[in-house]
Amino acid sequence: MSDTIDTLRYYFQFEFVRNALIVGVLISICAALLGVTLVLKHFSYIGDGLSHVAFGVMCIASVLKIANANALVMPVTIVCAILLLRTGQNTKIKGDAAIAMISVGSLAAGYMLMNIYGTSTNLTGDVCSTLFGSTSILTIKRTDVWLCLTVFVIVVTVFVLFYRKIFAVTFDEDFARASGINVNLYNNMIATIIAVVIVMAMNMVGSLLISALIIFPALSAMRVFKSFFKVTVCAAIVSLICAVAGILISILAETPVGATIVSTDMAVYFLFAGAGAIKGRVN
């Protein structure tokens, strides 16, 4: 045990490890908060879709040798997020089909571009680290931490200020609209935030695993709690604990960061599912 603590103490001397922990926790909480709404709106897959869009655009940025890739990736992903959440209201194109289409489309286009025009000698490695997250979480700079902190503050503020509106829009769009709530405004707001969070989280867990950060905490919380408020708070706490645990475990066991966090989330889900079943039987 004291060995473990010594190891951790050793690692936490380094600033980049501390930064990784801070960024991981902040992003996980943001993802979990948004996840509750997205899961309940049946948009669980949007995280996956958008991260593939971000991957595709990232490839384009690297082919065009744009120095600050995020300047291109962020706006394109936001636009896609808004369009995807909007098609959900359109009966002609079903939301899941639209997401699937954009998702695999940009994945294929991105990989192809990288392959044809890519300059890197280690193409497979590059693609792999974008898909599964890399050790780049351990190269996080101080400016990244501030960026994350800003986004975190914005997300939490939006949730606190508009909590009731977000509930109304999530629970019953028609009723919300009838009572004069600007539903489109809130949908676009959620879409924009989710796009920003996804682009930021890509470095950490990679585009294939980002969905996990969004859906698992919400699903875990829904197993045990039956009110929107409790589910939201619980999802945020679960996500925080899993991020911390995942990062610590990955340091100790020398496993990939993203996959470890997601595995922790998954383990907690099964724990909660069991707890929910027991709770249901007791009631």
Partner: protein, 221 residues
């Protein structure tokens, strides 16, 4: 002036015009059944009245008192709501305004009015269909000044629950003076409760219930 008046309304779904030139006026305290076959455009009409979509033509005027207080809406039941984590209190207060304590009080009053106050701390998804409809009606009441729009409120409810629900609506109409507009397929209930019928087809008609049923009997004879 009528509480709600439509003049020369044209209703379309997507690009297809369903009917044209619908005019009617509803006074405070009326109990209107909106009848018509599936796909005739009943829900579309209700959504237009609520301002959720624009009519293709014509105009809707709502008197100032009702505009200020708002119209209560009970949407068609959706599958999604059944697995939604939300307490009854959260659902009903979502339609209330003011400070937290005021919202709670408003919600409790509405639940009490429909004799489901004891459900307030329960989980919405674990209620029976009839109880859920009552809770949603309470929510509509919180948002309603003098009019309720109900979209097939008894669909899927059993016989006893249905008649309880109808008598509750009748009570709101009679004792609280709330105008009721209800989409329904239940012709017997219309015969029993309605003061007016809005029959939706490609040539929609609005008339008193008495006239409607006399007319119907003439056809049958």
């Amino acid at each position: 002036m009528a509480q709600l008046e439509c003049k020369g309304l044209t209703i379309a779904f997507e690009d297809r015009t369903l009917y044209e030139d619908l005019s009617f006026a509803i006074d405070a305290g009326d109990y209107v059944f909106i009848l018509g076959s599936n796909g005739a455009g009943k829900t579309t009409l209700v959504k237009t009245l609520l301002g959720l979509r624009k009519p293709q033509g014509g105009e809707i005027s709502i008197d100032d008192k009702l505009k200020e207080k708002g119209i209560g809406y009970l949407p068609q039941q959706k599958v999604m709501q059944r697995d939604f984590p939300a307490s009854v209190m959260e659902v009903v207060t979502s339609a209330c305004s003011g400070k937290r304590a005021q919202r709670r009080e408003q919600a409790l009053n509405a639940l009490d009015r429909l004799s489901v106050k004891d459900l307030s701390e329960k989980s919405f998804m674990e209620l029976s269909g009839g109880q859920q409809q009552r809770v949603l009606l309470a929510r509509a009441l919180c948002a309603a000044g003098g009019m309720l729009l109900l979209d097939e409120p008894v669909a899927g409810l059993d016989h006893t629950t249905t008649s309880e629900f109808y008598s509750m609506i009748k009570d709101l109409n009679k004792n609280d003076g709330i105008t009721i507009l209800m989409i329904s397929h239940d012709i017997e209930a219309a015969r029993r409760y309605a003061t007016h019928i809005l029959y939706i087809s490609s040539e929609p008609e609005f008339m008193t219930a008495k006239k409607f049923f006399e007319h119907m009997e003439e056809i049958h004879e």
